[in-house]
């Protein structure tokens, strides 16, 4: 609930735990993750591979499949708790209220069906349109995502399209029924850099035009910062820092966020600072089965002390808004 407007957030996740069931008991992958996205706003979830961001997205879609499972926590979508919703209820929400775009546009479309049909399917499924109406609306949807010659393109098969075009088709499918939330899981990672910018810009404009909020998931902090109002940084299944995009980028508080920002190559950085090597964060994200105790970042952290090994850092408010989870902050 936003006290200023009295409006509920479009997505509000609290204390979300996701585990992987196994022979030796469950392994916790996502640990007490919580954030909320106001209507029509773009929210970024950032972290390295394996930090749990993609399965958080799948949980929002209700697409977690055994052995993955949500062990506790709430997911409020548009004011209703979908954690524990039945498959039939979720099915009505999926595509209509919340949609998803995936990382790999080359394989995300059915190779045996013309792309127009794959968009049209949305109108048939959710709005009871006839195939004829739906086909016509699919052409409009293609035009909407700026696919040239949409009448002709609608009859094309996925293999006839470039990666960028396919991702446009995916966006058209996801936004066909004007959902309240679009979950975009690394939507540009598989694309050329020049195409990336186009796709991000397209997503932002179309969503803004129809009031769709975005949950943008990426390992690319720069990309997320350009697009989102608010950003949460995830590490090893936990959110370590959260704040507004500008503030987080300008004044990161958590050593991990600082590391991420330091690892982004910048044009002109060499001219300013002499011959500087691109910074990296030493080590790798630990496997979920061997997440360290205390602060999970401590083995890779230069500031780690005894307390980091033993105690989980609590969320503290950061100056400038948001939260940070670090024993050495402030």
């Amino acid at each position: 609930m936003n006290p200023a407007t009295g409006d509920t957030a479009v997505l509000e996740i609290s204390e979300l735990d996701i585990a992987l069931a196994g022979d030796k008991g469950p392994t916790q992958l996502v640990d007490r993750v919580g954030f909320s996205i106001p209507r029509g706003q773009a929210f970024g979830l950032v972290g390295e591979s394996g930090c749990g961001k993609s399965i958080t997205a799948l949980a929002v879609m209700g697409l977690l499949r055994a052995p993955l499972m949500r062990s506790s926590g709430q997911i409020m979508l548009d004011g209703r708790n979908i954690a524990g919703a039945s498959e039939a209820e979720m099915r009505k929400l999926r595509g209509r209220h919340v949609s998803m775009i995936f990382q790999e546009p080359m394989t995300a479309l059915n190779p045996l069906q013309p792309i127009g049909r794959q968009i049209a399917e949305m109108f048939v499924l959710h709005e009871g349109a006839t195939w004829k109406e739906a086909d016509a609306r699919a052409i409009e949807a293609l035009r909407h995502v700026r696919v040239p010659a949409p009448e002709r393109r609608a009859r094309d098969y996925p293999h006839q399209l470039s990666g960028g075009m396919r991702q446009r088709v995916m966006i058209a499918i996801a936004l066909a029924c004007r959902p309240k939330l679009l979950v975009a899981d690394e939507p540009t990672t598989a694309l050329d850099v020049t195409v990336q910018a186009e796709i991000v810009e397209l997503m932002a404009t179309v969503c803004a035009a129809q009031g769709t909020a975005i949950l943008m998931i990426s390992h690319d902090l720069g990309l997320v910062a350009r697009m989102c109002t608010e950003i949460a940084v995830m590490y090893a299944g936990r959110i370590v820092e959260q704040g507004t995009a500008g503030d987080l980028l300008r004044a990161p508080r958590h050593p991990y966020t600082q590391g991420l920002i330091g690892a982004v190559p910048r044009l002109g950085a060499r001219a300013a600072g002499g011959r500087r090597k691109l910074a990296e964060i030493e080590g790798v994200v630990p496997a979920p089965a061997s997440f360290p105790g205390g602060c999970r970042f401590h083995p890779r952290c230069s500031r780690a002390t005894g307390v980091c090994h033993t105690d989980v850092p609590l969320a503290k408010p950061r100056p400038g808004g948001g939260v940070v989870c670090c024993h050495h902050d402030g």
């Binding site: 099915r91 009505k92 998803m100 995300a108 190779p111 045996l112 098969y157």
Partner: protein
């Protein structure tokens, strides 16, 4: 499309010529001939003059090379030669038996597809379930049972013991069931396994996840997006099994006294009736080639990626 079909038909010619050549050479190399097989029949020593005359009449005196060229020449105009045994044209002999063979082959393949494919689907959608395990055990057994043994068991159970069906012979549909089952169980088992594997592969594909994220029911996901993609993978197996089935039918036909090509082939091989053997084998090869051509055409119709290429 027409060009594709024409191209495939033209491509068959060298294959058929090659097969004809191999069979021909094989029968000139292996010991024994039609005439010696007559003598083995218990008629004892034949008059050398008669033997000489027969050899001349049947053209066995000529060098192999000459006979091959003569045979291929006949083949071009659709003449399969004359049977040594019955002195009838081989085309007529085959014509009398082809119908029964096709009937058996189609019935067996129909059974294999109608049972095997749904079974594989069902098993794949419930992996690890009791039905999956049972179906796959049945499928493995179906693959490993020899056809003649299975035929005998079916005969014993349904004809001898239960008296539901005739044990052999040719006639109405009731005569078709047992041989078709005996022949169809192994392709059915293979199809069940292939279908299960393909469905499991497709169901984890990214586009199936997309389909789910669109908010459609699992039934629709499976029938609309999984089925067609999975069947595409099954199609190759269908073609190969179907094509090979007519050849495999020989044993089953003999067992059930089914008046198909199998009986003709076995008798002709024993008596070294070379033209009849060659004709029979060529028809079986041709059937294999035609079925696989049809499968290739089906691919072009179903898969847009091939259509373009």
């Amino acid at each position: 499309m027409l060009r594709l079909i024409l191209k495939r038909v033209v491509n068959m010619v060298p294959t058929i010529a090659g097969v004809a050549l191999v069979v021909f050479v094989l029968f000139s190399v292996i010991p024994g001939s039609f005439i010696s097989s007559l003598m083995d029949d218990g008629r004892g020593g034949m008059d050398p003059a008669v033997v000489e005359r027969m050899r001349r009449e049947l053209g066995l005196d000529d060098p192999v090379a000459v006979r091959i060229v003569r045979y291929l020449g006949q083949l071009v105009v659709g003449d399969l030669g004359t049977s040594f045994r019955t002195r009838e044209p081989v085309t007529r002999l085959i014509g009398q038996r082809l119908g029964a063979s096709l009937e058996l082959t189609f019935a067996a393949m129909g059974f294999a597809m109608l049972v095997g494919i749904p079974l594989g689907f069902y098993a794949a959608l419930r992996p690890g379930s009791l039905i999956d395990t049972a179906a796959m055990i049945a499928a493995v057994s179906g693959l490993s049972l020899p056809k003649f043994w299975l035929g005998l068991m079916l005969m014993y159970l349904f004809a001898e013991y239960l008296h539901w069906l005739p044990s052999f012979g040719y006639g109405g549909w009731e005569h078709l069931i047992l041989p078709a089952l005996a022949l169809g169980v192994s392709p059915m088992a293979l199809l069940a396994r292939t279908t299960r594997a393909s469905v499991l592969e497709v169901i984890n594909a990214d586009f199936v996840r997309t389909a789910r994220s669109k908010g459609m029911s699992e039934t629709r996901v499976v029938t609309w997006h999984v089925a067609r993609n999975a069947l595409l993978l099954v199609l190759t197996t269908v073609g190969l099994q179907f094509g090979a089935l007519m050849g495999q039918a020989v044993v089953v036909e003999k067992l059930f006294s089914w008046p198909g090509l199998g009986g003709l082939l076995v008798d002709s091989v024993v008596q070294r009736d070379i033209p009849a053997v060659q004709g029979g084998i060529l028809v079986i090869v041709l059937f294999f080639l035609v079925i696989n051509m049809l499968v290739d055409i089906a691919y072009v119709v179903i898969d847009p990626r091939i259509r373009a290429g």
